[in-house]
Symmetry: C2
Subunit: 206 residues, 2 copies
């Protein structure tokens, strides 16, 4: 029997490989056989780690979310005092990531579209992922509002929703257009126009 | 041999049934057997109508888009002179449609997430669908800008992109949250706040 630490390492390895599989083929496009072949474990061992394919995917979403938060915290940690500059930096990094990954889009958004209404345990993982992502962005947006850098007539909570929703929609457009132009436009339009205070006294408009 | 008009009717019937199947199960979740069982044609006859499952789905997207445009034109045709009122009316109707269909979301958005990067012919259909949708909305948005009802610092083209992208992202949130709250918020935030002229002299804020 493998020692607990080895098991934990193996489990995380399976989840990381699962992220790539799901991002490339979606939920229904990723059969159990493909999973087993890719992660190189026999069916029996796989079920020692995960109750079902569905539960495996739910844990993959949690892992994807942890990866994302780690990167976010790294970027926020390096921040100077201007939260809008940090927001621009994070969006640029997300864009670079999308371009590096060949326009696969966001795992959460893709799975929400495909199985959001059919898998409860995956949906719960997606909810957790969104809320943890939001917890980081809401602080930045509220801080920018407090400094008068962003409009204050809407709660940071609402700006946060708009940012996520518009970015996710732009990722869908990327898949339709075969171009990341909509992602760039989204960041520019939100941060340099729509989110600015009505009469801007900042120099955010570049 | 069936007469051409009958063939055309049968073809459209197959496409309409395909819309429901794809909306409920996605591309990979809709096997050819399920299609044949639902549309009640033998495999051989199916291939008389469509070259492949992929081409069937591309035509389904075109049909979905035609259905959508027909409804849009009906709503625009009934319009009074205030294009923002028309936009609100269309968004309310889209919301009612989403609620009626049990939160299936938008077929174009769902398929973009799942197969946007893997099927060229479906992607081309999605591009056509977006452009025809946009052609209707851009007129309404530009007209609202010309009347001073919406902000003029961004082209109607860009507002149109923002509206579609944010709506599609909100549909994903609906699937994650199990609620249409984000859709309602999106329409309110865009049309009653972010899209308004910097100092609004209208009474759009309700």
């Amino acid at each position: 029997m493998a020692r607990p630490r080895q098991n934990e390492h193996r489990r995380e390895d399976l989840l990381q490989k699962g992220i790539d599989l799901l991002a490339a083929h979606g939920y229904h496009g990723t059969g159990l056989k493909k999973i087993l072949d890719t992660v190189e474990v026999p069916k029996g061992s796989f079920y020692n780690y995960f109750e079902s394919k569905e539960h495996f995917v739910a844990e993959i979403i949690d892992q994807y979310s942890r990866n994302m938060l780690e990167r976010l915290d790294h970027m926020i940690g390096e921040a100077d005092d201007d939260p809008v500059v940090v927001l621009h930096r994070i969006c640029s990094a997300m864009l670079a990531e999308v371009e590096k990954n060949g326009q696969r889009g966001c795992l959460i958004g893709n799975l929400a579209a495909e199985i959001g209404t059919s898998s409860n345990c995956c949906r719960e993982s997606m909810q957790r992922a969104y809320l943890s992502w939001k917890s980081r962005f809401i602080d930045l947006l509220a801080s920018a509002q407090a400094k008068g850098l962003l409009r204050q007539d809407l709660p940071a909570d609402v700006l946060c929703d708009m940012l996520w929703n518009t970015w996710e929609g732009a990722l869908l457009r990327m898949k339709i257009d075969g171009s990341t132009a909509q992602l760039k436009q989204t960041v520019d339009v939100l941060l340099n126009h729509l989110f600015l205070p009505p009469v801007s006294t900042t120099n955010q408009e570049k």
